[in-house]
């Protein structure tokens, strides 16, 4: 093996990859998609929301709820209630920042214009139900019929408070029902409080406690805890690993297929051995992947430091990311390289690559349960089973309860052994496959080649 030749092959491979227009597009497309989603999602949701308009008929057997319902069902009241609810939910989940702006956007997104139509207490229920399904031609769309029961405001002696019956036509949206229920609840509670001369506003004020975000105390610095950050870190690290490996391994396969289909391979093999060629190509693409990873990690670190959140990230995570990347990359790249050497054109590669891709994507799909409960049997088992062990382990390490260090080193040892074994087998397939033209191989053929050489 000549290190100089390997370096030459690696250099060409690297330059060919990074000077390709497709590479630049691929590099920018991930952050671009993320950015677009963040910017566009709220807007898309807002502009598509429709305002629900229609009549709500009320038969108020108490005679005290209907006037209050008229107030709590107005669009303004509904919006105010929504904003309160969303703010409470966001506050509970610890999301801060532009939460206020987002609450506004989301509240605006759900619009409702209900018109309250009071029916006398003596109204015929059966006739009113018919109104729901066969509306008068000139009237607004009937949305619901509410019957407020007699004991809804004042319970019968020794009994508990009553409620209401809600009748709706078929295909009523859950959103309309929920908003109606909220309005009814507000109106009935206000009516109940009024019978005891208690001010509803006062009760609201007395029962609300603004929950405060926690402060993370770390050595000599204290900062507001970013719950979302802790949840996102495992996904980001697992994603970086998957994406980094995929970029390098896939380009490696494509370039090998190209060398084979353009028949330049034989000229190359007259100058370098198959092993030198494979080593050069694997290293060249590794450099490409490392460049991409460095770029993404760099951008991430810059963003964190601009929000003064850099201290939240354990620098050792980045070190382990690099170690795990190298192990995972060598394993997958050698498989992708062998596939590239075995087939005649990209189309034939698809059948062989799909299962490998699925294996690579599996930990990404399992990242949510693994990150939430990093010490379940499944999570621990996954972190020892190659080739997904490194991906599972980085997810666990980035989670809120990292695994013990012996497990990390076991993962590294298992990963290294698997990477060496795979590279060894793949290099044999690579050598045989490079000059095999004709019938596209299947996995059985690949294994036969590995045994043969």
């Amino acid at each position: 093996m000549s290190p100089k030749k390997i370096a030459l092959v690696a250099g060409r491979e690297f330059m060919a990859a990074v000077t390709n227009k497709g590479f630049l597009i691929g590099l920018l497309i991930m952050p671009a998609i993320f950015g677009l989603l963040i910017v566009l999602m709220p807007r898309l949701m807002t502009s598509n929301a429709t305002v629900v308009r229609g009549d709500v008929a009320v038969i108020d057997l108490t005679g005290r709820v209907a006037p209050l319902l008229r107030e709590s069902i107005t669009p303004e009241a509904i919006r105010a209630r929504l904003e309160r609810n969303i703010a409470r939910a966001l506050n509970a989940s610890g999301v801060s920042g532009d939460a206020a702006a987002r609450t506004g956007a989301m509240a605006r997104a759900i619009g409702a214009e209900f018109r309250l139509v009071e029916r006398p207490a003596t109204a015929d229920l059966a006739a009113e139900k018919r109104w729901l399904t066969t509306p008068p031609p000139d009237g607004q769309k009937p949305l619901a019929l509410v019957v407020i029961k007699t004991d809804a405001v004042a319970p019968a002696a020794g009994g508990s408070y009553g409620s209401y019956d809600l009748f709706v036509p078929p295909n009523t949206s859950e959103r309309v029902e929920n908003e109606l229920r909220d309005s009814l609840r507000e109106a009935i509670v206000s009516a109940r409080l009024a019978t005891r001369q208690i001010s509803a506003a006062e009760v609201t004020e007395m029962t609300s406690v603004v929950s405060q975000p926690s402060i993370t105390v770390g050595g000599d610095v204290e900062r507001q805890t970013a719950t979302g950050f802790n949840q996102a870190v495992p996904f980001v690290f697992c994603g970086l690993l998957v994406f980094g490996v995929m970029i390098g391994a896939q380009t490696l396969m494509t370039s090998t297929v190209e060398e084979k289909s353009s028949r330049v391979i034989e000229v190359l093999l007259s100058a370098v051995s198959p092993l030198e060629l494979m080593a050069g190509k694997v290293l060249g693409q590794m450099a490409v992947s490392m460049l991409v990873l460095a770029l993404y990690v760099g951008i991430g670190v810059l963003m964190l430091s601009s929000f003064a959140m850099l201290g939240l990230l354990d620098p050792w995570l980045i070190v382990y990311l690099v170690i795990f990347f190298l192990i995972t990359y060598f394993l997958f790249a050698s498989v992708f390289g062998a596939i590239g050497a075995a087939v005649n054109e990209m189309r034939e590669a698809q059948a062989l690559v799909t299962p490998v891709m699925l294996v690579l994507m599996l930990p990404w799909l399992l990242a949510a349960p693994v990150a939430r409960d990093p010490n379940t049997t499944m999570a621990i088992a996954l972190s020892f089973i190659p080739p997904v062990n490194t991906l599972a382990m980085i997810t666990r390490m980035a989670s809120t309860s990292p695994p013990p260090i012996w497990q990390v080193w076991t993962t590294i040892a298992v990963g290294l052994a698997a990477a060496c074994a795979t590279t060894w087998v793949a290099s044999k397939i690579f050598r045989v496959g490079l000059l095999m033209f004709g019938k596209p191989p299947n996995f059985a053929t690949l294994l036969r080649w590995a045994r043969q050489s």
């Binding site: 030749k5 092959v9 028949r263 034989e266 007259s270």
Partner: protein, 327 residues
């Protein structure tokens, strides 16, 4: 003397198909050695084994004194039958890359590329992306790739296939130049005329087996049929006088108005030409050149009774040559 290439009883099979069967070969240093035979005879498999791209099932070989070409790759120039380039790379960068892989410094390679490109008629194409060149141009680019590092051994697998006559001449000049520099040339071709012109030694292979391995000079002596091709100036001229000459064995009508005159054993063809010309004024008279194709067919088809096999083989060879001419 140490040989540039030695194959010792080499055999290679692909599944049930025996591609090369017990072939031995010794190419002396400095020779221009022709490997000839029809398509599918086993030439490329032999060359790939010499290059250590394929490995023999049995038998052994040595290249430039090493047990494997892998140990002498940098001293060998190779133009494979399957041509290929990096389509997106520029010609100059591609050639420099190949030369660097062969151990030439970047500076040396950069300096040699423009000159060599000019010699093969591709002046000023250094900055052109490979995919903008025609097939014939790319073939010349690849030839440059094979000689750029000034190898001791130049192995050319069907170097002229698909090239126009001008390009063939340009490449032939470069092969001769490499030979003059001292390089050993191993040239495979199924067009035997090229081998006749260029090689000082031919090695024939047929269905994986060696059928001939001789210097061209000896071949000429051995297979020289002492034939003179003669076409009289006047139509219907009387040629009976020629048949009566003491040197002449027989006179047969040939193509058109021509005749083929066969001389007796030991006759001197140059004297016979002068005598025939003096007897009947010729439009054309020449000593028939040795045709490897005829030698090949004679060897493969044997002495007699194999006319059909010989005709089939001849048509196969001619079909190959016609295909070349079309390309």
């Amino acid at each position: 003397m140490e040989h540039a290439i030695e194959l010792r009883n080499v055999r290679k099979t692909f599944g049930a198909h025996v591609a090369v069967d017990g072939v031995s070969l010794a190419v002396p240093r400095g020779a221009v050695y022709g490997v000839i035979g029809p398509s599918g005879a086993g030439k490329t498999t032999c060359i790939r084994m010499i290059m250590s791209i394929l490995f023999p099932d049995t038998g052994s070989l040595s290249v430039l004194g090493r047990a494997s070409a892998l140990e002498a790759k940098d001293r060998i120039g190779y133009l494979p039958e399957e041509r290929g380039v990096y389509r997106k790379m520029r010609v100059g960068a591609f050639l420099t890359y190949l030369a660097q892989l062969k151990g030439v410094s970047r500076e040396t390679a950069d300096a040699r590329v423009p000159d060599l490109l000019e010699r093969v008629g591709l002046k000023g194409t250094e900055r052109t992306p490979c995919d903008e060149l025609s097939k014939g141009m790319l073939q010349r680019v690849q030839f440059v790739g094979a000689v750029l590092h000034e190898p001791e051994l130049l192995i050319l697998d069907e170097p002229f296939s698909g090239l126009d006559p001008v390009s063939v001449r340009l490449l032939r000049d470069q092969v001769q130049r490499a030979h003059a520099r001292g390089a050993t040339i191993l040239l495979s071709t199924h067009i035997m005329a090229y081998a006749e012109e260029m090689c000082d030694h031919v090695f024939m292979i047929h269905e994986g087996r060696k059928v001939l391995d001789q210097p061209m000079a000896g071949l000429r002596r051995q297979f020289d049929p002492r034939r003179i091709l003669f076409e009289p100036l006047r139509d219907g001229a009387d040629v009976s006088g020629i048949a009566a000459m003491p040197d002449v064995l027989q006179v047969e009508p040939g193509a058109g108005n021509g005749y083929t005159v066969t001389l007796v054993e030991g006759a001197e063809p140059s004297l016979a030409v002068a005598r025939i010309a003096a007897l009947v004024p010729p439009a054309r008279i020449e000593i028939a050149r040795l045709r490897l194709e005829d030698v090949f067919i004679r060897i493969v088809a044997g002495g007699g009774g194999l006319d059909e096999a010989a005709a089939a083989l001849r048509s196969r060879l001619q079909a190959g040559a016609a295909e070349e001419a079309r390309a």
